[in-house]
């Protein structure tokens, strides 16, 4: 396995930054966000879990998906193509999050053109977690702190003779291409075992969720929900969006519009409001419950993967401490008491 020293990794990243848009965890006024860096010195080395997931690079919070020119005739153009991008420091859970989004946007026809272009243009370099942090529960939803799923390369920090060193696992063809010309030397190293969290619940199967849909449990869990969108926006798998055609410029005889897509959230009241003002999910209870059912029943039933990778960000971001692990444990308990 190839092993890089910190200096070699820095040098390689600097080289990548010249060829690609290089995104990595950056400390932005105390918050860890995936932002573009000019070189490796801008990276928040030693980061644990970032505050936002790298989803921002493959499914941006806002982007045009179509350019519309209205004049004597109407012209439709694709939105500008995304620049070739390398995201460094992707945690294994977040890479599995990208796979979960692929299941809807890529794996089922019709595929989402703009999302496909992003995925095509983006290479994900993972950084294995040495341990599960506070609120982490990747192992509950089929992941692991050192999972390679969805990544192109995975770096694992190993003891170097002189400070940090990184062992490189090449996962995909894309990763192999990127790693060509990477410095470092071939060494026989054994990868450290990550430290796992204990005392986590077991995820009930989707039919168990189905059986608990009308339980009063949901009223208790959701009563304090404020109806904000924080949990869904920090989530690496939440993928709902709103679309609107907005005017970019207007001249006599010629109007340019862009079809804009921006993140939306099922936890907020207007999300499900339909023409005429009717809202099929009229209560906060029905809205927040939907978020959990989407993750653990609707999405896996319809598209395959779970809609949750156990990053724990929603637990940390929730202003009123709605804890998805407590919800999983609650459903587990209900299922156990129902079947006994």
């Amino acid at each position: 396995m190839k092993v890089l020293t910190q200096a070699q990794l820095n040098e390689w990243l600097n080289h990548l930054a010249e060829r690609f848009t290089l995104a990595a965890p950056v400390n932005v006024q105390g918050k860890l966000l995936y932002r573009q860096v000019d070189d490796s010195s801008g990276i928040a080395w030693g980061f644990e879990r970032t505050d936002m997931s790298p989803k921002t690079w493959t499914f941006p919070a806002t982007e045009p998906i179509l350019i519309i020119e209205q004049g004597a005739e109407t012209r439709l153009d694709d939105a500008p193509a995304p620049a070739p991008t390398v995201v460094f420091g992707v945690r294994p859970c977040d890479a599995r999050g990208a796979l979960a989004i692929d299941a809807l946007f890529l794996d089922k026809e019709p595929s989402d053109g703009q999302y496909a272009r992003h995925r095509e243009a983006t290479t994900l370099i993972g950084l294995a977690c040495p341990q599960m942090w506070d609120s982490c529960f990747c192992t509950v939803v089929g992941g692991a702190p050192n999972s390679t799923e969805g990544l192109d390369l995975l770096l694992t920090e190993v003891d170097g003779s002189d400070g940090a060193a990184y062992a490189v696992q090449i996962i995909s063809e894309k990763g192999e291409k990127l790693a060509a010309g990477m410095p470092g030397e071939e060494k026989g190293v054994s990868l450290p075992k990550p430290r796992l969290a204990k005392g986590l619940p077991t995820l009930p199967a989707s039919q168990e969720w189905k059986a608990q849909f009308n339980e009063t449990f949901w009223k208790q869990v959701t009563e304090r929900c404020l109806g904000c969108r924080a949990c869904t926006f920090v989530c690496p798998t939440c993928r709902c969006f709103d679309v609107r055609d907005e005017v970019v410029s207007r001249q006599p005889g010629r109007t340019v519009l862009q079809r804009l897509r921006a993140w939306d959230a099922c936890t907020s009241a207007p999300y499900r409001r339909i023409a005429g003002g009717h809202n099929p999910r009229p209560t906060q209870h029905s809205r927040l419950r939907n978020r959990f059912y989407c993750k653990f029943m609707y999405y896996p039933d319809d598209f395959g993967p779970l809609g949750c990778v156990g990053c724990g960000r929603c637990i940390e971001a929730c202003p009123v401490n709605i804890d998805i692990l407590e919800v999983i444990a609650g459903v587990e308990q209900l299922a156990a008491s129902g079947s006994s």
């Binding site: 006024q29 806002t62 904000c228 907005e246 921006a262 207007p270 401490n321 407590e326």
Partner: protein
Amino acid sequence: MSALEEQIRSAARQYLENGDVSVVIGYERGPKGKVRPAFVHQADDAERLVWSPECNLNLVTYLHNYKHSPRRGVPVPRVAVVVRPCDARAVNLLLHEQQIKRENVKVIGVTCAGSEVDGELRQACTVCQERVPVIYDVLVEPEQPVEVPEAQDDYGDVAEMESWTPGERLEYWAKEFDRCIRCYACRQACPGCYCFECVAEQVFPHWTSIALELPEKYFFHVMRAFHLAGRCVGCDACEVVCPMDIPLSKLNRMLAKEVEALFGYHTGDDPETLPPLATFSPEERLRL
């Protein structure tokens, strides 16, 4: 259990046992020990309620969930709510704005020694002189009186920003709003933000783009601050809940200071004086 906690629990128990209210809104501890809002429906459950300086939200915001009758023929629910002095002024705000009826709300007022965020006393609490809520049905008091800090310039914290040029302010807020994700946690946590349809989300007319980018964030936060001028009670719940730690209280306090200077009005101090933007007096013209 502290003396405050015991009094809160006993008040909650009594209200529920007597059938005065159907729910008591207070705080409990979550599975990892974090303090969070609690809704107690049964007298036996009152034991869940806790009180500590970590109780830093404004629970009055939940009263909006109980304003209406749930079904035809069912009366508007009666609710008890645990408040700090700043939160209590939000009760007055909602009374002014005719959002709630006094007889439907029981106020459990807590003598406050200040709230903490991440183990540190909230900036506003370091200068706050209020210890006893301006409105309550039950007053929760500690055994020892709570110390009041010496009076100092209430708005010392925004003085620096006032000295900035508009350009400098723009630059400062651009940097802060840069990491806003437009999650609306600030709005949802605010007892004064209760429009059925927020300007930021209105479709007809479409005031602002759906984009989650800097111009929209500016629009949203500045619009929200203006809509709270003379209405913000300074509880800082917006800032406390912000997942991106944006110092939103600074915006609100700048405007609160203006309103105080122009109209001599401090939000929610008493249930009679109407907020300046809800009334009109001919003298105002002269003062402006």
